[in-house]
């Protein structure tokens, strides 16, 4: 199996990691797609360097968040004039529980009120990452990661309470 095929299979399997990052950093569908593409390109560029060094997901968290926080340039198009790849038009949604979706909807909406760094912290918390990994990903000390996480969680809870979801 060549490198490209290997990468494509891994990303297809782990694509929800990237989708969730796109969803918390954007609120427009076309921007979501643009960010997904940019993260894919960044992941691919550093794939030969990463290969086999860590779990694909661990490495994808870091590059995905870095792309959303630092590299991605949101053009904020109100109307998408660039046609998205035909292939991506094949939309297929998994079956979902409407009640569950409703709660998740509140969560995503509440996260939109956080700043870029707070979003990254909450994302890593929801993905069940430990503080060592969170601190390493963001480049801050573990103590500061804990302090900031507690504050961010409190902020998020307040937003959720205001929305009646908690």
């Amino acid at each position: 199996m060549n490198l490209e095929q290997e990468f494509v299979i891994l990303l297809e399997k782990n694509q929800n990691i990237v989708h969730k990052i796109c969803k918390i950093y954007t609120d427009q569908e076309d921007v979501h797609k643009d960010l997904f593409q940019e993260i894919t390109i960044q992941l691919w560029h550093s794939y030969p360097k990463f290969r086999g060094e860590a779990k694909f997901s661990t490495w994808a968290y870091r590059i995905g968040l870095n792309t959303a926080i630092s590299l991605f340039r949101n053009k904020k198009r109100k109307l998408s004039i660039i046609p998205w790849d035909q292939a991506l038009e094949k939309i297929s949604y998994e079956e979902y529980d409407p009640q569950k979706d409703d709660q998740l909807h509140y969560l995503y909406e509440a996260i939109q009120h956080l700043n870029d760094i707070e979003k990254a912290l909450i994302y890593l918390y929801l993905e069940d990452k430990d503080y060592t990994e969170i601190a390493e990903t963001l480049g801050i000390s573990e103590v500061n990661a804990r302090v900031k996480m507690n504050r961010t969680k409190t902020k998020l809870k307040e937003i959720l309470k205001k929305k009646g979801a908690l």
Partner: protein
């Protein structure tokens, strides 16, 4: 148990996204990146070459007549080209250190540092242009002062020159500031904010 934990499980099970298949991913791999770094790199290259072009437009003095200014010109040129080489070296060095596999803070730092080198380079060019005008002004004054004339007319001429030089310098700085406001305020705002936020965390 944390109140937010009830969301955690749902979050982790969430699969309600547009499915991207292998052929979509392959298509994406062959698209070019539109990242901020790419933009910064292109703009920086234009700025770096603009500095060199501007240097060709610097006023030249009449070297045959005044040996002192002849020496000043050569010394300034030497300093100018050494500085250009230094800035270009620093720019490429920090540009190559930009990697999305670094921690967020390091990545932001290396992008902003790369930009800073180009900004310093442009500032240096502006100061150098001002300095060149000043030297040209001095040379012109020394050559034009006619000792037979009254001091009044000489003084008037010097003031007129000084006003011209100040105006030119002012226009250059105004253009520079306007350009940075237009080009970088939007491009770097997000990066600066995020970098400051991470720095604030470490200082608390």
């Amino acid at each position: 148990m944390d109140e937010l934990d009830q969301f955690k499980k749902q979050w982790q099970e969430d699969k309600n996204f547009i499915k991207v298949d292998q052929s979509d991913i392959k298509t994406m791999l062959h698209k070019s990146s539109t990242s901020i770094v790419k933009w910064i790199f292109m703009i920086s290259l234009i700025e770096l070459s603009l500095g060199i072009i501007l240097s060709l437009l610097l006023p030249n003095s009449n070297r045959d007549e005044l040996p002192f200014f002849h020496f000043v010109d050569y010394a300034s040129e030497l300093v100018f080209y050494c500085a250009i080489a230094y800035f270009i070296y620093k720019f490429f060095k920090s540009y190559t250190s930009i990697s999305s596999t670094n921690s967020t803070k390091n990545l932001l730092n290396s992008i902003l540092e790369t930009r800073k080198h180009v900004e310093n380079y442009i500032k240096f060019n502006i100061y150098f242009i001002m300095y060149s005008f000043f030297v040209a002004f001095l040379e012109l004054t020394v050559r034009k002062i006619d000792l037979d004339h009254k001091w009044g007319s000489n003084l008037l001429m010097i003031i007129a020159f000084a006003v011209c030089i100040t105006l030119v310098a002012y226009v250059f700085i105004a253009i520079f500031k306007f350009y940075y406001k237009i080009v970088y305020r939007r491009l770097l705002r997000k990066l600066n904010n995020n970098y400051e936020e991470l720095n604030r965390l470490e200082q608390e």
